[in-house]
């Protein structure tokens, strides 16, 4: 297919002016990919797919969404009404809105798997440190975009989530108060907040698209890691990206869409995890919902925040837990990449994954004394994992790494 297109006159005309043929060769048909990548390597292309879906559905939602907290009949607002109009009156509005809401959660599912794969197989280690760091930037922007977007329907969870998180910044000494005001644009979350969050919610995905370009470029300079975590030297160890990995990714996309569409069409609220029950109640600044927790993908960090009595410490720990991801490549000093050949690291990293799930569970549940202790232990392990990494090579006996694949 592709080779037929590349033989046409039109393609030749474009090629003379853009060098498209050379780009396709170097990035696709002759781009060397390790031949032993497993299905964990599918999540990168899935993340790209969801990003495109989010931008596309978002653009169409904006055609009907109105960012205004002006009150309308019955305790609702213009923003809430416009979302309900999309759900009820706009042709296929329900589909596009559910795709967007479910897509937000699926984006995090896919990206967390992608990050987990990178950690397990040591993809963050030299020479891929910068690739990892760009990835962490992407994660932070995603979390920002998700947070801004969650305010837009102006439901109870939108309002109180924004209130709590903007208030976090108040804990920062000296500047906190001003950062909070800059975010909120008033004395409490209100119409100015909604308007600026809407603006930023549109900006951040554009930033994402640009930075994802950088992420892919960085990848294509240093090339993919592989499950063995070894450097590849022989040409027979690699295969061209196209058609082998384009087809494998296409299969992955179809398989992913099965899950995505099942949720969109049959269970879009996902039992209150993807669209929370309280967000069907219009925002009320005089009444906090009884159960309030962030959306599931932010709950691990929320638990870290709650694990400290001092608000400042909590905020610092939460910020630190994200910031420490930036230095992961420099904390991990082992010469071996893949957990397959690092018995201790393998146990530690699997425990880390479980730990993050535990953190997420604690953050989503109403706090009890037991859960608080569990959350604190999980928080301790989260940091312990990172701080133990530099010491690990001193006592970890790595298994012999294969010569090739």
């Amino acid at each position: 297919m592709l080779d037929k297109i590349m033989k046409t006159d039109l393609f030749a005309w474009i090629d003379r002016r853009t060098d498209a043929g050379a780009i396709i060769k170097s990035q696709l048909t002759e781009y060397p990919a390790p031949k032993n990548l497993n299905y964990m390597w599918n999540f990168g292309s899935l993340a790209l797919l969801v990003l495109v879906l989010q931008i596309l559905t978002g653009i169409f939602l904006v055609m009907y969404y109105k960012p205004s907290a002006e009150a309308t009949f019955g305790g609702f607002t213009v923003a809430f009404d416009s979302v309900e109009r999309i759900m009820r009156d706009v042709n296929f509005g329900w589909l596009i809105r559910y795709m967007h809401a479910v897509g937000a959660s699926m984006f995090f599912v896919v990206v967390y798997m992608h990050i987990g794969r990178g950690m397990y197989y040591g993809s963050f280690k030299a020479p891929r440190e910068l690739l990892w760091i760009i990835g962490v930037v992407i994660l932070l922007i995603m979390q920002g975009a998700a947070f801004f977007g969650y305010l837009l329907p102006w439901g109870q969870m939108s309002f109180w989530g924004a209130t709590v998180i903007t208030n976090l910044f108040g804990a920062i000494p000296v500047l906190g108060e001003y950062i909070g005001q800059i975010l909120v644009g008033g004395f409490a979350v209100g119409d100015p907040t909604l308007n600026r969050f809407f603006s930023l919610h549109y900006l951040f995905p554009l930033l994402l698209a640009a930075i994802v370009g950088g992420h892919i470029h960085a990848l294509h300079v240093v090339h993919s890691n592989n499950p063995e975590g070894i450097d590849l030297h022989k040409p027979e160890e690699t295969i061209p990206f196209h058609p082998y990995y384009t087809l494998k990714d296409a299969f992955g996309v179809a398989f992913f869409l099965l899950f995505y569409c099942y949720i969109v069409f049959f269970n879009p609220q996902m039992g209150g995890y993807f669209i929370e029950v309280d967000n069907y109640v219009p925002a009320n600044n005089l009444q906090t919902p009884a159960h309030i927790a962030p959306v599931w993908y932010l709950t691990p960090w929320y638990t870290i925040l709650r694990s400290f009595e001092s608000k400042l410490l909590g905020v610092a720990a939460m910020g630190g837990s994200l910031a420490i991801l930036f230095v992961l490549p420099f904390l991990c000093k082992s010469a071996v990449r893949s957990a397959r050949y690092r018995p201790v690291y393998k146990i530690m990293v699997i425990m880390f994954f479980i730990d993050v799930i535990v953190l997420g569970y604690c953050g989503h549940s109403a706090p009890t004394a037991t859960l608080k202790v569990v959350g604190q232990i999980a928080t301790a392990y989260y940091f312990l994992f990172f701080f133990a990494l530099p010491l690990l090579p001193k006592f970890e006996k790595t298994k012999p790494v294969p010569e090739g694949i």
């Binding site: 297919m1 169409f60 009907y64 009820r88 706009v90 042709n91 296929f92 509005g93 596009i96 296409a250």
Partner: protein, 199 residues
């Protein structure tokens, strides 16, 4: 299995995958483009009620219907007389050219001439059929009031300021105008003697 059989199976799968992919892409386009069509509430809000008795004799009132301007003119007997006598200068004297310029009730030559259910109240879409500007109402005959913005044998009607289209007092377009058609007549009916429901 032979290489050839393998190859043909592979080709079949490529074609099947490509075909299904194209179907998927096509099916995805439907809801997105569909969402840009008027929403259900917009479509339902497409009727306007208006009391024509509020328009004084000889006056024109512009009202809104589906977000578009609509002319309601109260034509005096003098104005009604201006309809006659210039059929040869009209592009479409009987309002037959396209569906939008006629309605079912236009079943007599009389009604086709006056283009109104009640001749004294002309109700037409106020968008010039050229490029959608709102024509200026210049009802009286001759150039007295209008200067040379109208032809010297002006029978009264509308003049579009954008590109100089002319319509007579039944909103029929004059020869030589860039506008191709008479002003459109939208569906409407009288709910009572003076209340008209447009849409």
């Amino acid at each position: 299995m032979t290489d050839q059989a393998n190859q043909s199976r592979r080709n079949f799968l490529y074609v099947a995958a490509g075909g299904l992919g194209a179907v998927a892409a096509g099916a995805t386009v439907v809801p997105f483009i569909g969402s840009m069509l008027p929403a259900a509430d917009t479509l339902a809000a497409s009727k306007t009620e208006f009391d024509v008795s509020t328009v004084e004799a000889g006056q024109l009132v512009t009202i809104q219907w589906q977000g578009k301007p609509v002319f309601v003119v109260h034509r005096t007997p003098e104005l009604l007389k201006q309809v006659d006598g210039h059929d040869d200068k009209l592009k479409d004297a009987n309002s037959e050219a396209i569906a939008e310029v006629q309605q079912e009730w236009m079943d007599t030559p009389e009604k086709r001439k006056y283009r109104a259910i009640k001749p004294e109240y002309l109700i037409v879409v106020a968008s010039c059929t050229h490029l959608g500007c709102i024509p200026l109402f210049k009802p009286s005959e001759g150039r007295k009031e209008w200067g040379d913005s109208v032809p010297d044998d002006w029978a009264g009607g509308w003049h579009c300021p954008c590109h100089g289209s002319y319509y007579d007092i039944s909103a029929r377009v004059l020869n030589g105008s860039p506008a191709p058609h008479n002003l459109h007549v939208m569906p409407y009916q009288y709910k009572s003697d003076t209340t008209v429901v447009i849409g």
